[in-house]
């Protein structure tokens, strides 16, 4: 009908692996910078993992400055932030104990009662719970990565599993590094996003690996670099199409899905881009370390 798919040729011949050294250097640098950032600046932990109290209010005839003035006279560690529009304000407090928090919420509510139209949300996470949530999140990510790898190992040769680990580690580190730079809040939803990114990136990698395996059987004589290039090119339009439709949905979620879900959507957008990049430029070149055919071993 419209036939816009002709833009991407059916058998493109782009030399993806030719520039592999440049991309490898870029990715190693990105990972190193991410590690440094994570250890120095760290992540912007939300109350899920840091503990504390969060109150969202919609206000009338007041300003964030006025509310800050009212509250900071009673609390030294209060922080306020506009959330979506100027009438909706997030109030965050750090509490030391569980008991204290209940009293805090009550007194904060009393202090600003007459400025507030609605208390939209109040959340409190105690110190024991926040450390438990962090541990469970860590557990979930580790187990998911291990399970995915076991699956890849069972379905493919172990060399592919190695390529997938490298790509996954890259994706998770790189995404976390960008979250740190952009100061995106790290919450339970972020853990969900990272796991989904892991699933998505592997999904992308698997599709290309599938083709590599098929081509290994089909073209017994082709040089490995050329064979890998061919496989990436074979799957290129699918890689681009799926990333684009996923990104379309995510951008819609980011713009229209509301303030609460925005950090989640942003994390996913970052992850999908990185995951797509890594499947082509990291996972596949990693396979070059290995010799897949008996005749290659004679070289």
């Amino acid at each position: 009908m419209f036939g816009l798919n002709k833009i991407i040729p059916v058998e493109p011949k782009i030399n993806f692996l030719g520039l592999r050294r440049n991309f490898l250097i870029f990715s190693i640098l990105a990972m190193l910078i991410s590690i440094v950032l994570l250890s120095i600046k760290g992540l912007n932990l939300g109350i899920d993992f840091k503990g504390g109290t969060l109150i969202e209010v919609s206000t009338k005839n007041t300003s964030i400055g006025e509310l800050r003035e009212i509250l900071s006279s009673s609390y030294s560690d209060v922080s306020l932030q506009e959330f979506g529009n100027e009438n909706i304000i997030l109030i965050r407090l750090q509490n030391k104990s569980n008991q204290e928090s209940i009293e805090t919420v009550n007194s904060v509510k009393n202090l600003i009662q007459d400025k507030v139209v609605e208390f939209r949300r109040s959340e409190f996470v105690g110190p024991t719970i926040s450390s438990e949530l962090l541990f469970r999140g860590f557990q979930a990510v580790s187990f998911a990565l291990i399970a995915i790898l076991i699956y890849i190992w069972l379905r493919f040769e172990w060399q592919f599993g190695f390529g997938a680990v490298v790509a996954l580690t890259h994706d998770v580190l790189f995404t976390l590094g960008l979250l740190s730079v952009l100061n995106v809040e790290f919450s339970l939803a972020t853990i969900a996003a990272i796991l989904t990114i892991a699933g998505y990136s592997i999904n992308d990698t698997v599709v290309i690996f599938d083709r590599v395996r098929e081509n290994l059987r089909k073209y017994k004589k082709l040089e490995l670099v050329d064979l890998f290039n061919l496989s990436v090119n074979n799957t290129l339009s699918r890689t681009i199409m799926t990333s684009l439709t996923t990104l379309l949905a995510l951008v819609s979620l980011f713009i229209f899905g509301g303030e609460v879900i925005r950090p989640f959507a942003l994390t996913m957008i970052i992850g999908v881009i990185i995951g797509t990049y890594s499947s082509v430029f990291i996972a596949v070149p990693t396979l070059l370390i290995f010799k897949f055919r008996p005749q290659d071993e004679d070289d």
């Binding site: 919420v105 998911a144 989904t196 339009s237 699918r238 199409m241 819609s252 979620l253």
Partner: protein
């Protein structure tokens, strides 16, 4: 309809129809419908319909300490009966060590003690008896405390007028509450935060030096006033009667005293109360709630009717809340709120609206994009995508899953990812079309070749989603549910429905060649 078996068409069409029909209850969404069919709708999570999620922790340490105190009291009583002198009692974190003046009757004391507290570890060495709270004994205390706490929390929540609360044990020592539609979470937290242990004690007004030195003699305790910490009372440690003997309590109003709580004792309580008030006319009787004295009126005459009122500086709400607490009974140990997530109905409605807009716009963008790229085939994939959405909704409704805000995000994400299987198939068809000209053979090969890739690719996403469900909590589980259902539904719609639609299209359009 070349090569397309009738049974297959029948299966596809009926599954699609089922998917659409069972999505109806969730789309109509009649909250109060009792209709057997319309009841199968999606449950909205607390973050979408508004309400409170609370996680409470039973303070077991308090109970263990109380039990150690009980041990001490009982050992004292037993050794008094046996006429054995106690030299020293050592209370440690987990055990009580009693040093006796002589060791003759120590075995008898041990046996009597064991009669009272079966299951504790008792050890004798020389003149020492050590009583240990072992793990099994702790577990008995723990289980019964959680069971009692659950029951009392349930009563209190019921009395507060919350509809359809979910109250359940979570882990070893926690209680999880989901309270839909709660408008004032602070009041609920107040109700749950009080142990509500009510006891009546005779006040000792004679021993003024004890109060001055802040040192209670044996058998007495010093308790502060509820409204003024500096006012203290010296009371008999032994309670005359307690809240467990109450059969009713309600908020009342008295012309002279203001708001008050009137109560009634059961027969046993009434007898005890009557006896004590008869014998102690002229003395004061303190009403103690959770370690503070609410009021300590003078007993002017014997109260034998078994009922009375408690006055304090209450307002109407406080009086009626205290009555709720007294009716529900005392918690065995204090509860601490360790996590709270309360969402107002306004935010919940905003989230639903935003999620719907995001889903619709995402859907339109993806559909337009698919048509631009694949033309008619893209339109067929879009039909699959829309059916996919219906299937997710109907599955959520029929299994009674809870839709949360991250769940909506999962659906929107699925919209983007669900076309992947179609894309894989179409790209294979495109490749095949270069190799041969037989239209149906091209399509058949395209689907066959794409199959194993589709399975591999989707199983990895499913693994991530299932582990997220296993380790995630609350709203995040909602995300993993919609994501898993979306992935499963997308495999069905791509491999069966798109397949069916493509065959139908090619048969009816009578295509002789295929250009994608």
């Amino acid at each position: 309809m070349k090569n397309y078996p009738i049974w297959k068409s029948f299966t596809v069409i009926s599954l699609v129809l089922l998917g659409i029909i069972f999505a109806i209850p969730s789309i109509i969404y009649d909250e109060n419908s009792e209709n057997w069919f319309l009841k199968n709708k999606i449950n909205l999570g607390l973050d979408l319909q508004g309400g409170s999620y609370l996680l409470l922790e039973v303070q077991l340490d308090v109970l263990y300490k109380e039990e150690l105190d009980n041990f001490v009291d009982s050992v004292r009583l037993i050794s008094r009966d046996q006429a054995v002198k106690i030299e020293k009692i050592d209370i440690q974190e987990n055990e009580v060590v009693v040093f006796f003046a002589n060791k003759e009757k120590i075995k008898d004391i041990r046996d009597s003690f064991f009669q009272m507290y079966r299951g504790v570890s008792l050890q004798i060495s020389n003149n020492r008896l050590s009583i240990k709270l072992n793990d099994e004994y702790r577990k008995i205390i723990q289980d019964s405390a959680i069971k009692q706490s659950l029951e009392i929390v349930r009563k209190r929540i019921d009395e507060s007028g919350t509809k359809e609360p979910l109250i359940q044990r979570s882990g070893k020592k926690r209680i999880l509450l989901q309270l839909p539609g709660v408008k004032d979470p602070e009041r609920i937290k107040d109700l749950l935060g009080k142990t509500a242990k009510l006891t009546f004690h005779i006040v000792d007004n004679d021993n003024t030096s004890a109060l001055q030195n802040n040192l209670a003699p044996f058998g007495k305790i010093i308790v502060p006033d509820m409204y003024d910490e500096n006012t203290k009372y010296l009371l008999d440690k032994r309670a005359v009667v307690g809240g467990e003997n109450l059969v009713d309590a309600k908020g009342s109003f008295d012309q002279t005293e203001g708001h008050a709580v009137s109560f009634r004792f059961d027969t046993e309580g009434a007898q005890k109360f009557g006896k004590v008030t008869t014998n102690n006319i002229g003395k004061n009787l303190a009403v103690v709630l959770d370690g503070v004295v609410i009021t300590a009126p003078r007993i002017s005459s014997a109260i034998t009717g078994g009922s009375g009122i408690i006055t304090g500086n209450f307002n109407a709400q406080e009086a009626s809340d205290l009555a709720v607490l007294l009716r529900a009974g005392a918690l065995p140990a204090p509860l601490e709120i360790v996590e709270e997530r309360s969402v107002g109905a306004g935010l919940g409605a905003d989230s639903i609206a935003a999620g719907q807009i995001a889903a619709i716009i995402g859907m339109v963008l993806v559909c337009v994009f698919m048509i631009l790229i694949y033309g008619t085939f893209g339109a067929l994939a879009n039909v699959s995508l829309i059916v996919n959405l219906f299937i997710i909704i109907s599955l959520l409704g029929t299994i009674g899953a809870t839709l949360t805000l991250p769940g909506i995000a999962g659906i929107v994400l699925t919209i983007g990812m669900a076309v992947d299987a179609n894309v894989l198939i179409f790209e294979r068809i495109k490749e095949e079309s270069l190799k041969q000209t037989k239209v149906f053979q091209i399509v058949k090969n395209g689907f066959d070749r794409a199959m194993s890739t589709i399975l591999d690719a989707n199983i990895t996403t499913l693994i991530a989603a299932v582990l997220l469900f296993a380790f995630g909590s609350g709203p995040i589980r909602g995300f993993s549910i919609t994501l898993s259902l979306g992935v499963i539904a997308s495999m069905f719609t791509a491999l069966m429905l798109t397949n069916f639609l493509v065959y139908m299209y090619l048969s009816f359009a009578n295509k002789k060649e295929l250009k994608l």
